[in-house]
């Protein structure tokens, strides 16, 4: 399968791109928003509610909402920037080079809110006296965050990393809704589904891919469990 199945390595690399995007772009943005909102100011609850709203939407609905944005001739983005009239429309969802990133934008819309809420909860558990001490010592906010708050939140950080990895491996719904996972949107989970359910004769193949996905998933899961066992036992 590694050498003969032409879809495997693209799917694998797409999963990796998904993971990299979530880890380096979406999750930091979520953490950043959480840090911004973790203070006494008016409207912080409203901001939190808004950012978290996409999380309660089904991925199917998210896919459809973003299809309205990305559609080549009728979508908002192409029309708003005059790309349709000038004839230079960008095929966000059809072009295999950029559709993965378009989908990642939609998935991030949801992921950022989720990470923000988790991180906010963690931030609230940080002892305020630590921050007071840092302020008395003359640290700026940035310094306080990176040198004092972040190390203290090590368990939360592990959770965030694990959640990000698991969400990246679980990616399926949006890609399936958009175009059934073809043409640049292949993911391991979609390969499993297509191989085993649609063309039932390749069940062995699908199982092999599922085993690989399982092995990869075990890495963040074991990490999570070892962290949980440390605190429980």
């Amino acid at each position: 399968m590694f050498t003969g199945y032409t879809l495997f390595w693209p799917a694998f690399s797409h999963n990796l791109i998904w993971l990299a995007w979530l880890t380096f772009i979406a999750t930091p943005l979520g953490m950043f928003l959480a840090v911004l909102l973790d203070r006494e100011m008016r409207g912080t609850r409203i901001y939190q509610s808004v950012f978290f709203l996409p999380v309660v939407l089904s991925l199917v609905v998210v896919g459809f909402i973003w299809e309205l944005q990305y559609a080549p001739t009728d979508g908002f983005i192409n029309n708003a920037f005059g790309l349709v009239k000038s004839g230079k429309l960008i095929d966000w969802l059809g072009n295999p080079h950029i559709n993965l990133y378009a989908i990642l934008g939609a998935a991030s819309w949801r992921h950022i809110g989720y990470i923000m809420i988790l991180y906010l909860a963690g931030l609230k558990s940080v002892d305020p006296s630590l921050r007071e001490a840092a302020r008395v010592d003359g640290a700026t906010e940035v310094q306080t965050f990176f040198r004092v708050v972040l190390p203290v939140m090590a368990p939360i950080n592990v959770i965030i990393v694990v959640v990000t990895a698991i969400e990246a491996l679980r990616a399926f719904d949006i890609a399936f809704i958009i175009n059934q996972g073809k043409n640049g949107l292949e993911l391991l989970s979609i390969l499993i589904t297509n191989n085993s359910i649609s063309e039932a004769s390749l069940v062995g193949f699908g199982s092999a891919i599922a085993v690989i996905l399982l092995l990869i998933s075990l890495v963040p899961i074991v990490l999570f469990l070892s962290r949980t066992m440390k605190t429980l036992a």
């Binding site: 199917v60 029309n79 909860a121």
Partner: protein, 311 residues
């Protein structure tokens, strides 16, 4: 000073904070606008009749707004029926999951048991797996497990089979409910056990001394104490099960048993021939979770944080 302006206390740092705060608010408001825009665009598109968008394109001021798309979706695409399907699947799913999960959490936290930790670990790990990993053996199980055909509850067009129409778990409401319960019980157990740890063992022990058996302690003593956590989990579980797409996609075959998310997927190709109808359908589908979210946001966030941070 305070005597002349009685309402104004002197705030020393007010000047220094203001510009930074203003920038912060400006940034956040910009982000909020960006965040809400796709949703707003969907609402806007769904309110425009198709003739309007054909004439003027999608990015244009509306010449008329109407609810006709919603009407079409509601009547022609049989949305009420799919809502019913979803309710039939989600409500028993949530109740069963909470019952089972609270039982396991109760045992693991209130009684010292050698396998406490392992059980909790197993349950949590199961929920973290991508569902696609287990779908192949699950599919086989569903196609090969004989289930009793004990008749069905028929109300008009709707038919709920007890427990199967075709002697299999495949393509049955019971099948979907079952996999939801199984999949979510792990997470629910984990969260509830986190919460139940705060219930001291003295309460359970005194109830035991009073002569109550375990089941009674669970039902009458511990569950009422867990009301906040149960509410939080019910909210979360409802949202997870409602929004699920994969299980219904694979484990249901007949179109009239589909819950609303996978029904939406099918309808997108057949009925919703234009973007306006797609937008209306998607928005109709996402109204219940949004209502639950707005009303019960506290519980939602509480449930997530109980489960993910070690509280």
């Amino acid at each position: 000073m305070p005597a002349i302006f009685p309402g104004r206390a002197v705030k020393p740092n007010r000047r220094r904070i203001r510009p930074a705060r203003a920038t912060l608010h400006a940034f956040l408001i910009a982000m909020v606008a960006l965040w809400l825009f796709p949703l707003f665009w969907a609402i806007y598109s769904s309110l425009r009749p198709i003739s309007d968008t054909i004439q003027h394109g999608y990015v244009s001021w509306p010449s008329s707004l109407s609810l006709i798309n919603y009407q079409t979706v509601w009547t022609q695409a049989q949305m009420p029926y799919f809502y019913l399907n979803t309710l039939v699947i989600v409500i028993p799913g949530v109740i069963l999951t909470l019952l089972l999960a609270s039982m396991v959490a109760f045992c693991c936290t209130q009684f010292s048991w050698r396998f406490n930790l392992i059980v909790l670990m197993l349950f949590t790990a199961g929920n973290l797996l991508p569902p696609q990993v287990i779908i192949i053996p699950l599919y086989w199980i569903y196609l090969n497990t004989p289930i009793a055909v004990l008749g069905s509850i028929d109300i008009g067009k709707f038919s709920f089979a007890l427990f199967s129409d075709n002697t299999l778990l495949y393509d049955q409401y019971i099948g979907i409910i079952l996999i939801h319960v199984v999949f979510q019980t792990g997470f629910a157990t984990f969260v509830l056990s986190n919460y139940m740890k705060t219930i001291t063992k003295e309460i359970t022990e005194s109830a035991l001394v009073d002569g109550a058996n375990v089941l009674r302690i669970w039902w009458s003593v511990v569950l009422p104490l867990c009301r906040p956590a149960l509410a939080a989990m019910a909210t979360l579980l409802f949202t997870f099960m409602y929004n699920d797409f994969f299980w219904a996609l694979i484990l249901l075959k007949s179109g009239d048993k589909r819950p609303i998310t996978s029904a939406l997927n099918n309808l997108a190709g057949e009925f919703f021939v234009n973007n306006n109808l797609i937008a209306a359908g998607a928005l109709l589908a996402c109204i219940p979770p949004i209502i639950i979210y707005i009303l019960l946001q506290r519980h939602f966030v509480a449930g997530l944080t109980l489960g993910s941070t070690k509280g």
